[in-house]
């Protein structure tokens, strides 16, 4: 097993399958009377978050606690980081406290990679800049596998702000490894032609309507409000008309096709409320699966000999 989880691109198909299989067993814990396993007793997991993220941090926290690890939340706000401490010094501090794993979210792409040189424990990338978010890709593919029975051979459309999305990048890499076919969809300003080189078989489309009929999975990305004024598209209304998933577009997808969203979603901006709440949407499942997949990752990285 690998020591760190930095990029979805580092995972081969066998490792991803092992994480998925383990997650399936971890999922049964959620349905039990005692939602806890003694597996990581005595291990310490540090959540080091330089960006606000309630859902990912909570998900990692719940996952670590269900495995009986001790969890320390270290957020940049109101901490030594605000007083000017560098990532390296923070890393040494965590090292001195005996962290067995560091879950890091950082606005700079590559920060988790740097961190591996400064701490002895495992590093899990919980999102770095516009680079990667591997556990999100693992939970998304896990969700596809449990809903559609497999990942290989699926047609997956990833729609929206691909340019700034680490979720899109990690998913495209992992889906390629697992044998699915990915189409990136969005306005040319947010899906630049360079994305056609992300993996050998990824394709790019600027016409959402043309990919609907063949899609097994439509994954909507959040339109990041902070991008609205940066002239990536003319108006929110026009964006919704061309790239929003509404009920009419949902009807043109095959009957078995599912709708995914990594959250947090903007209802009425990229997805219609009735689509988000429909039984075809896996948005709530993705959250539950996130805990199981992160439990699996923590177990596989920390469960063996240190």
């Amino acid at each position: 097993m690998i020591k760190h989880l930095l990029s979805a691109g580092d995972l081969d198909a066998a490792t991803a399958a092992q994480i998925h299989d383990t997650a399936e067993e971890m999922a049964t814990v959620a349905g039990r009377e005692v939602k806890k396993l003694p597996t990581l007793r005595g291990r310490t997991v540090v959540n080091l978050f330089y960006e606000d993220s309630t859902r990912t941090r909570t998900s990692f926290e719940v996952a670590a606690k269900r495995l009986s690890a001790d969890v320390v939340n270290f957020s940049a706000k109101g901490s030594s980081v605000e007083k000017g401490e560098s990532l390296k010094d923070t890393a040494w501090t965590l090292q001195a406290m005996g962290a067995d794993a560091v879950v890091i979210r950082h606005p700079a792409s590559g920060a988790p990679h740097r961190l591996t040189r400064w701490v002895h424990g495992s590093v899990l990338n919980a999102g770095d800049g516009t680079h990667e978010h591997p556990t999100q890709a693992l939970l998304d593919t896990f969700t596809m596998r449990s809903r559609l029975g497999k990942v290989a051979g699926l047609n997956v459309a990833i729609v929206g702000d691909v340019l700034h999305s680490r979720v899109a990048r990690s998913n495209a890499l992992l889906l390629h490894t697992l044998g699915a076919k990915v189409t990136l969809v969005g306005p040319p300003t947010l899906v630049t032609p360079a994305f056609a080189n992300l993996t050998p078989d990824v394709s790019v489309s600027y016409d959402f309507d043309s990919v609907l009929a063949d899609a097994d999975v439509v994954m909507m990305l959040r339109v990041q409000k902070e991008r609205m004024n940066a002239a990536f598209f003319p108006s929110q209304h026009e964006y919704y008309r061309r790239y929003g998933l509404d009920a009419a577009r949902l009807r043109r997808m095959p009957d078995h096709a599912i709708v995914m969203h990594p959250g947090p979603m903007n209802r009425g901006v990229e997805i219609a409320p009735e689509v988000a709440d429909s039984p075809r949407s896996t948005i709530v499942e993705q959250v539950a699966n996130g805990v199981s997949v992160r439990m699996a990752c923590l177990y596989l990285l920390l469960g063996g000999r240190p």
Partner: protein
Amino acid sequence: MAYKTILSDADINRILDRIAHQILEKTQGAGDVVLFGVATRGVPLAQRLAERIQAFEQVKLPVGTLDITLYRDDLGRHSTRAVGRTEVPSGGIDGRIVVLVDDVLFSGRTVRAALDALSDLGRPAAVQLAVLVDRGHRQLPIRADYVGKNIPTSLTEQVKVLLREVDGVDEVRLEDGK
């Protein structure tokens, strides 16, 4: 590796017949019993005991599967182990008599882990233990309620249980140490 056969397929059949009868006797008809096979080879053994108990007294017992990997006390001493399947029968285990079924009883650590795993799944009225082979060398205060065969061993020897569901053949071997 040099080995001698301790139990043949016929021996194993007779032993399972006997243990099935003993379970019926000791639990007064096995009405409340849930069988739990401890992965890997305890699972087919539990299945076979359930088939026999049904043949003898027409009681259909629920059979569960217990994978104890996440409850082991030596996880940190080996590279990461793959997690197997745990399945709890739909009736659950609360108030039932759980009979754990495993192939070999040795140090007792697997059973300790299995007891911990069970207590996270519910609260059985009682837990009993059935094993095909007891080879001694206990490291914990644990004993079996139903024993197929006691085999005195030295610590350097290995007891290998082969079952047709997993290995294609029914046989118990005693192998020389390295």
